[in-house]
């Protein structure tokens, strides 16, 4: 089925895409206009407001989520693209853990990495992916792996400490 050209670019909400995917281990089904980003769909359609919006163009990392095992700037992915995907957001990270926080989230608190907290969900997701792909990162590797996530409170040093702390915890587990 090829869509026809009867649609003007400006006509909003005229067409809806139904997306079925898994979000934090539960299956989700939303109906969204095609231009809707995954970020907006998570926040508005699914009420998962832990994923934040700042730049909306891939520069800040506040909207970072993990899709099929890899980090994605959810502001640069259409919700429609998530069909059949397995999505992990900050809300799903500590689910089932005592106190609702995973070891990484605990480490962020322990290391004093949380200031205003707005960038933190994105930071946590980027750090989780970093540790999954590199369980024992050096400081340089952490800085490189996290460099897509801005923190204007500039808790960068504390976040590096939190990632190192988590790596140590996981190594002895």
């Amino acid at each position: 089925m090829i869509p026809t050209e009867d649609q003007s670019a400006d006509e909003v909400g005229a067409d809806l895409v139904v997306v079925t995917c898994s979000v934090n281990g539960e299956s989700a089904r939303v109906s969204v206009p095609p231009h809707r980003t995954l970020m907006d769909a998570l926040r508005n359609e699914l009420g998962l407001t832990g994923t934040k919006t700042c730049c909306a163009e891939g520069e800040c990392g506040a909207c970072t989520v993990i899709v099929d095992g890899a980090t994605v700037n959810s502001c640069l992915m259409l919700a429609a693209e998530a069909e059949g995907c397995d999505i992990l957001t900050v809300e799903g990270l500590g689910a089932g853990e005592p106190g609702g926080l995973c070891d990484l989230q605990e480490s962020f608190l322990e290391a004093g990495a949380v200031q205003c907290g707005f960038c933190i969900p994105g930071q946590v997701m980027a750090a989780e992916y970093l540790l999954r792909t590199n369980p024992d990162p050096s400081v340089d590797e952490i800085r490189e792996g996290m460099s897509g996530n801005l923190c204007r409170c500039a808790g960068y040093q504390r976040i590096v400490a939190a990632v190192e702390l988590t790596a140590r915890k996981r190594a002895t587990r």
Partner: protein, 771 residues
């Protein structure tokens, strides 16, 4: 000031410990609700209409086509508001709710579209037709001060007796002691230079926004992540004519403020939209819009400084022009306060600082961490280095020679200000941590700088604390918790003073409907002012427990005494909880304590009053310069602040690290670039660069000097701005040490450093069309 005895300090359990951030768990798990996360199911969305130029006369606004668009509820322009269009502001009520016949800066809204959905509002906004004629504007200090320059504000809008009404100068300040002209003859060396500090923007990661909700009673609930809810409440009441009791402000914790979320901007507009449509109206800003709502004043400083042979300052003269923007906001105050400490924490026999707040067709500048001090410190610190170079001294020697000792005046005259801390300790500590005097690898340089910033000069903070029947406690404290972790400190104070476990303490803030008045969260004032209010409220509770205990048990009050967490009776110590149970008896209940911290201003004082404390910082940097590219690699960055007492060491460290890196932002890479129409060219995250993880110095070391000599609880002082006051000076000094050439314009981008090394290759960055 609250007396604090050594033994009592030892009794503290949580104060001084690295207690985890209050509200931290919600923030790491995504549960913390910031403004954009609050659900308003029946809210209408708002989109703003703006022009592609910075300065224009608006000749017509036609919303007919927009009104016909699907979902559009209202198209509102100045003509739809009460006439004359209400204006608001702190010192000058000059900012219109919506552009009124003219646009004075890029991004100033001329109309607003309210629609059922955001997509519809934005589509509607694109259909609003605005007829306008661009006017010549002024976008930098030179243009604004040129003879015959277009005036940002028509003289008819200014008081008749305003001597500057025919210019773009909004306000001036002059601080002077001694006689700089006469003193020039005594100087062995005189250095004279001009320095510039760029326009930079706060770039909070939370862009912010406002939701205005009409209430059934005809009032308004305003939701906005402001640092200053009571000011917003007053502003809304004033522009709408509603009584204060009908305006309730909910201030969700800001996702970063840094001064940028202090003053009202679009909230009055949202209030009118809500009143006119009868619908909750919601506007969540884009990052680009946030750039257009807040920035730091740019500054040009002409400095002339004389030194004796031994490096002692003889005189120091500064002419500071702050480029403030199209409306006053708090910029005049930024100018006066930043200039007040402009000459630096030095022993200067003759000084003169003459400053101007210069209007321009740019985003109104506002409070920004450091509040005018970093701009002038850049010049003063660079001048100290220039003097040192001329005299064959180094940066440490010349500062040792001139830095005031505790109790000594750095600002002279009737409103003299003296050092309220052992600042030399910070200087020496920073020198030690940077390895001053040790051999440097080739291509490297070291620099050191100091600066001060006055804390709050007057104000009122109030707090209520409830000590509940089970020993849990609630503090009501209006301080907004924007990242500095204010609530954590209140929690610590309650825990220690009442003996309540940390996890049984709640802190309520951000709702003018239930929390008592607090002036604002700014000038690093909260720890001192609100801290003392909270402390006093806790002690009030202990006194009440004591009194009621005496009454209930018949023990003579004189036989009882109280101390943190306990009531001391003739039979021994009781925990405060136990004592309160006995005191309350079968009826139960709770204790409510009240605390107030009020600081009165001083009449005639140029700042309105003496500063409650000064933030002092010394920063030292070791940098490596790639002379082929001009790139800088910071090997070590040391920041030492005079903190009085670290109430929570981990929060002090994170504030100092954060401010240091923010300081590197304006020192190394940040600047708003405008085109010939005053349009921001690097509007947004793509071309406005702030430091990332990879821009953090190889080693970043912060240290707090603790002499327990502050006016805040347990001898604390305000922190959180200090570490960016003199970052630029330290970096500039290190770079010039490495390359042998001083650079006087910020930021020190690779291109600027390279250009300094290749003066012949002059070429304006950004001169031609983008690729």
């Amino acid at each position: 000031m609250i007396e604090q005895h050594g033994s009592e300090r030892e009794a503290l359990r949580t104060v001084g410990a690295p207690i985890r951030r209050y509200g931290g768990a919600a923030r790491v798990s995504g549960q913390q609700d910031f403004l954009a996360d609050l659900p308003f199911p029946d809210a209408a969305a708002v989109a703003l209409v703006t022009l592609p130029v910075a300065c224009a006369t608006v000749t017509g606004i036609d919303g007919k086509r927009a009104m016909e668009m699907p979902g559009v509820i209202a198209v509102v322009s100045a003509a739809d508001l009460p006439q004359p269009v209400p204006r608001f502001g702190i010192s000058h009520q000059d900012r219109p709710v919506l552009a009124d016949g003219e646009v004075l800066f890029h991004g100033e809204p001329v109309a607003a579209v309210v629609a059922e959905t955001l997509d519809q509002a934005e589509a509607g906004a694109r259909e609003v037709e605005v007829a306008f004629e661009e006017r010549p504007g002024v976008y930098n200090v030179d243009q604004a001060l040129a003879t015959g320059a277009p005036l940002v504000r028509d003289p008819s809008r200014r008081p008749e007796d305003d001597e500057n009404r025919d210019s773009n100068v909004l306000e001036t300040a002059l601080y002077e002691w001694g006689d700089t002209t006469a003193a020039a003859g005594e100087a062995a060396v005189i250095v004279e230079n001009t320095y510039t500090f760029p326009m930079v923007t706060h770039f909070p990661i939370e862009p912010g926004g406002t939701v205005a909700v009409p209430t059934d009673a005809g009032g308004l609930d305003i939701y906005s992540p402001v640092q200053h809810p009571y000011l917003l409440q007053r502003t809304i009441a004033t522009v709408t004519g509603l009584p204060l009791s009908q305006v309730r402000v909910f201030a969700p914790d800001p996702g970063g403020g840094f001064g940028g979320k202090q003053t009202p901007r679009l909230e009055p507009l949202l209030a009118f939209l809500a009143l006119q449509t009868g619908r909750p109206c919601r506007l969540v800003l884009s990052l680009e819009q946030t750039f257009q709502m807040m920035r730091r004043a740019a500054c040009r400083v002409k400095a002339r400084t004389g030194f004796a042979d031994d490096g002692a300052l003889i005189f120091h003269e500064l002419h500071c022009d702050f480029l403030i923007g199209a409306y006053a906001d708090v910029a005049p105050r930024v100018m006066t306060k930043g200039s007040y400490v402009g000459a630096g924490p030095y022993r200067i026999p003759h000084a003169r600082t003459a400053s101007r707040a210069v209007m321009s067709n740019t985003t109104p500048s506002t409070a920004f961490r450091g509040f005018g001090a970093p701009q002038v410190a850049w010049a003063t610190e660079s001048q100290l280095d220039a003097g040192a170079r001329a005299l064959g001294l180094d940066g440490l020697q010349i500062r040792r020679r001139n830095l005031v000792n505790v109790g000594e005046a750095f600002f002279r005259g009737p409103y003299e200000a003296t050092a309220d801390g052992h600042w030399h300790e910070a200087l020496e500590k920073a020198a030690e941590l940077i390895g001053w005097g040790q051999p440097l690898a080739p291509g490297r340089g070291r620099g050191i700088a100091v600066a001060i910033k006055p804390g709050a000069t007057s104000g009122l903070s109030q707090s209520l604390v409830r000590f509940l029947a089970d020993g849990s406690a609630i503090a009501y404290a209006g301080t907004s918790d924007m990242g500095q972790g204010a609530r954590t400190l209140w929690q610590q104070i309650l825990a220690d003073e009442l003996g309540s476990p940390l996890d049984k303490i709640r802190v309520v803030s951000g709702d003018t409907g239930v929390v008592p008045f607090d002036l604002q969260t700014s000038a690093s004032r909260s720890t001192v002012f609100m801290g003392n209010a909270v402390l006093e409220a806790c002690r009030d509770i202990r006194k009440r427990v004591l009194a009621l205990f005496a009454e209930s048990t018949g023990v003579d009050e004189a036989m009882l005494s109280e101390a943190p967490g306990v009531l001391i009776t003739p039979d021994g110590e009781l925990s405060l909880l136990e004592a309160s149970r006995i005191a309350l008896g079968a009826l139960g209940g709770e204790f409510v304590g009240q605390g107030t911290a009020r600081m009165r201003g001083r009449k005639g004082h140029p700042l309105g009053g003496d500063a409650a404390f000064y933030e002092f910082n010394c920063t030292a940097i070791e940098v490596e310069v790639d002379v082929e590219t001009g790139e800088l690699l910071l090997h070590r960055h040391v920041s030492v602040s005079d903190v009085g007492t670290e109430l929570n060491p981990i929060q002090v460290t994170s504030q100092d690290e954060g401010a240091s890196i923010m300081g590197l932002g304006h020192s190394q890479m940040e600047q708003l670039l405008l085109d010939d129409h005053g349009v921001i060219r690097n509007l947004g995250a793509l071309d406005y660069r702030i430091p990332t993880f990879k821009d953090v110095p190889v080693e970043l070391i912060t240290h707090g000097i603790e002499n327990h000599d502050g006016p805040g609880p347990y001898g604390s002082k305000g922190i959180s701005e200090g570490a960016l006051l003199c970052t630029a000076g330290a970096l500039g000094s290190a770079v010039s040490d490495a390359i042998g050439i001083p650079i006087r314009d910020l930021p020190l981008t690779p291109e600027r450093v390279w250009t300094a090394l290749h003066p012949d290759a002059a070429d304006h960055p950004g001169g031609e069309e983008p690729a």
